[in-house]
């Protein structure tokens, strides 16, 4: 049943395929969803999936696959959908991606596979993400588990952090027969997938199912362990007997802007705001004990233009905010958030205030936030990032009344592992230095990947690093060779 379908399974000519419109993702109605945390995208039916899969031109070049950070064999799995072999398609994806139900939901396909799709040059690209999600959900619904039968190698690998990079390393290495033990600092597994990304984009149940899949593959998990504090990397490699360690601790610490009033009650980092909601379920207080500021009927703003900013403000809207603003100092073109998220947010009624730069949080004199003073900006010359630099328009100051402000302007490296691991080389900003193809660090047997190496990026890029690391760890465990890239030699 997992035989690859012949290319001829698609009855349409190339011309006819170009004429089939991209099948729309069924969505929960915007008016309804702004009051609930249930998922926005509802997923393709079998009908829609097969119709969409028929559009694939089955190019020889597979630019889609080449642009996938984890190298999913897209053409092959899409052909299996055309042939009606959904289980086979799922197994095909799993060869390269151990978390398909997650990436099918949160990966920015428009920057990767779909940007490479030939269809996209003339019409809309193939809905690869939607198709991936469809087969992953089908697999789950049918209770299909693809468990590779491999002989144990007797090697033990410790994975630090249960976010997207760590879970990918765990899945890939388990498939090679290595014993993997994942350490997580929080009480729940999943890293940013559980504390950061809200239910309406990625239901927690999906993460739990993917974790169960990894458990069935023999991966062990241990929560409440802060590596660097509870146990060090040296202890893992020493008395705990691990043959290799992968560090995937994530981007870590929230950045603040350094403007007056950031300590006022009602000002949150996006990490704290989202953690209270997603991990601690503070919106269900007092059924859950962790409190948060009551947002019902209040004016809330998020500062920043990334996916995290949108996750925060769309959550605020669902918690009953009266006005929900995005304050961003550049224009919409420069916003790093996914186009689909911006589109969804706008549908739901989020008020985007572009070219707006907060300069001071205002207080009621008793320590509570009452508003923010902003200046209007215009775009000047391009800066180091290639984006046009925002410049303050003189005399443009104005005040916006607010009860809650959420700061989502980025993160900086969490120092706990680096500062407790002698010889682990970091860059100027404190991120771990790792070779970009092997993910090796300056410490023998220690690999790193994801945001703790690159700074904050996306789930799929972290997974890509996890894939490279797993391949490289497997090589190291089987050959024992360890060559350091010149730049990483320990002084």
């Amino acid at each position: 049943m997992t035989q690859p379908a012949a290319p001829s399974a698609n009855p349409l000519t190339l011309k006819e395929r170009m004429k089939v419109p991209r099948q729309q993702m069924p969505e929960q109605e915007a008016a309804l969803r702004s009051t609930t945390f249930t998922e926005v995208n509802l997923g393709y039916s079998e009908e829609l999936a097969r119709q969409e899969a028929l559009r694939c031109l089955e190019c020889a070049k597979v630019a889609c696959m080449q642009r996938c950070p984890v190298g999913v064999k897209i053409k092959e799995f899409v052909q299996m959908i055309v042939a009606g072999d959904f289980a086979g398609a799922a197994a095909k994806i799993r060869e390269d991606n151990v978390l398909p139900a997650i990436t099918g939901r949160v990966c920015p396909q428009e920057d990767h596979c779909e940007a490479g799709c030939t269809l996209g040059k003339k019409v809309k690209p193939l809905g690869i993400g939607y198709l991936e999600r469809f087969v992953a959900d089908y697999e789950q619904r049918m209770g299909i588990h693809h468990l590779p039968k491999v002989a144990p190698t007797g090697k033990k690998v410790a994975v630090v952090g249960s976010g997207p990079s760590g879970l990918t390393v765990a899945g890939d290495l388990a498939q090679k027969g290595h014993k993997v033990h994942v350490f997580e600092a929080l009480h729940e597994l999943g890293g940013v997938l559980v504390y950061g990304i809200p239910e309406f984009r990625l239901p927690k149940q999906i993460i739990r199912e993917q974790l169960d899949h990894l458990r069935d593959m023999g991966v062990e998990f241990e929560t409440d362990v802060v590596v660097g504090r509870t146990v060090t990397i040296d202890e893992l490699m020493g008395e705990e007997g691990y043959d290799a360690v992968f560090i995937g601790t994530g981007a870590g610490s929230p950045q603040f802007m350094g403007i007056p009033g950031e300590h006022l009650n009602g000002v949150y980092s996006a990490n704290e705001f989202l953690t209270r909601i997603n991990l601690m379920k503070a919106y269900r207080f007092p059924a859950y004990d962790e409190p948060m500021v009551d947002i019902r009927g209040k004016d809330v703003a998020v500062i920043g233009g990334g996916n995290t900013a949108l996750d925060a403000i769309r959550s605020a809207l669902r918690l009953g905010a009266r006005n929900a603003y995005v304050l961003y100092r550049r224009s919409e073109t420069e916003m790093p958030a996914r186009a689909e998220e911006v589109h969804h947010a706008r549908q739901e009624g989020i008020d985007f205030r572009m070219l707006t730069n907060p300069v001071e949080f205002l207080s009621d004199g008793k320590g509570w936030l009452t508003g923010v003073r902003c200046t209007r900006m215009e775009l000047g010359e391009a800066d180091a990032s290639g984006r046009r630099r925002p410049v303050t328009i003189a005399g443009s100051e104005f005040e916006l009344p607010l009860s809650v402000a959420v700061i989502a302007v980025g993160t900086s490296a969490n120092p706990i592992v680096q500062s407790t691991t002698p010889g682990l080389q970091t860059d100027k900003r404190g991120y771990i230095q790792a070779d970009s193809s092997t993910q090796r660090t300056s410490r023998k047997g220690v690999f790193a990947g994801g945001d703790i190496v690159t700074g904050s990026a996306t789930v799929i890029l972290a997974m890509g690093a996890g894939r490279r690391a797993a391949k490289s760890i497997h090589e190291y465990l089987t050959s024992g060779g360890w060559e350091l890239p010149a730049a990483l030699k320990i002084a």
Partner: protein, 298 residues
């Protein structure tokens, strides 16, 4: 799950727990804390580690009933299990030979200052300890503190034991009496730590305080525990919890610790109501009176 091996009240509303946490016991150093979440719907709260026994694989914490979570924790017994205990977190206390060190512990702060006092004594410092409580029955760890101090002074607000007055009164006497003090370590309520900072600042005595802001993860991820030190944001969980008292903005700490006062009150009232309803149904009493203690988290 983390099993409670022993649990007993040291004073009304203040309970000491010995918890099985072998990994934490092995790594604990004085001044560090754990984050505790009691059950699935629970909040995460920071609690200072009072002592640890690596051989037995246990740590102990001293908990004062203040809000719902601490009341609930203090109703737990030996044999019960706590869902999550994470640590040891925060930077350890700086232990070195300073000379003469005054360790001030206010209320349950005495239990938190104890491991640091013991380490300072072991390193050859002259340790003068001042521990204070509202009244005699709330004085904590007196014999333990005595065993690691060259001099121990006990104060009570009402004079029911030791010297009547506040810990700051005794510290002022020491300073005014010309005792050469190289370091003051103060652990206790924010108002006490601020009063001590104000007292030692003009005297130019180096002073360290252990701060207790509201936290969630305890690993530097959320930034909720940010405190203003020298007008800059620092995270108490990774940059602290100990800071130079003369650089800390205590007003902001008080303000931020009051952020959820209303929610904490509602949560506590609901908890008391539910407990009373349960007791009425069971017809059984509870050995611990439910008193809401003013102040933030401990």
């Amino acid at each position: 799950m983390f099993r409670i091996r022993q649990a007993h009240f040291l004073a009304p509303g203040i309970k000491r727990f010995v918890i099985e946490a072998p990994r934490i016991a092995r790594k604990h150093e004085p001044g560090q804390f754990v984050i505790v979440r009691i059950y699935e719907e629970g909040e995460r709260i920071p609690l200072t580690i009072e002592s640890s026994d690596p051989a037995l694989g246990t740590i102990s914490i001293v908990v004062q009933s203040a809000g719902k979570t601490t009341h609930l924790l203090n109703s737990m017994q030996a044999g019960d299990a706590i869902a999550d205990v994470v640590g040891p977190l925060g930077k350890p206390s700086e232990i070195a030979k300073f000379g003469t060190v005054v360790v001030v512990g206010g209320g349950v702060g005495a239990a938190m200052a104890y491991p640091t006092a013991a380490a300072l004594k072991r390193d050859g410092n002259r340790v003068i300890s001042i521990i204070g409580a509202r009244n005699k029955e709330l004085v904590l760890l007196e014999s333990e503190m005595r065993s690691v101090s060259d001099t121990l002074v006990v104060t009570t607000d009402d004079g029911s034991y030791g010297q009547k007055g506040f810990v700051t009164d005794r510290l002022r006497e020491l300073i005014e009496g010309g005792t050469k003090i190289d370091l003051v370590l103060a652990v206790g309520p924010v108002v006490m730590m601020k009063a001590i900072a104000d007292l030692t600042r003009p005297a130019g005595i180096r002073t360290v305080v252990s701060l207790n802001p509201i936290m969630i993860d305890g690993t530097g991820m959320c930034g909720g525990c940010r405190v203003l030190v020298d007008s800059k944001s620092q995270f108490a969980c990774v940059d602290g919890p100990e800071f130079d008292a003369h650089r800390v903005n205590f007003e902001v700490l008080v303000q931020r610790n009051a952020m959820y006062r209303e929610a904490e009150r509602r949560s506590m009232e609901r908890f008391v109501r539910e407990r009373e309803a349960r007791e009425e149904k069971n017809g059984a009493g509870n050995d611990e009176p439910c008193t809401v203690v003013q102040g933030g988290k401990q």
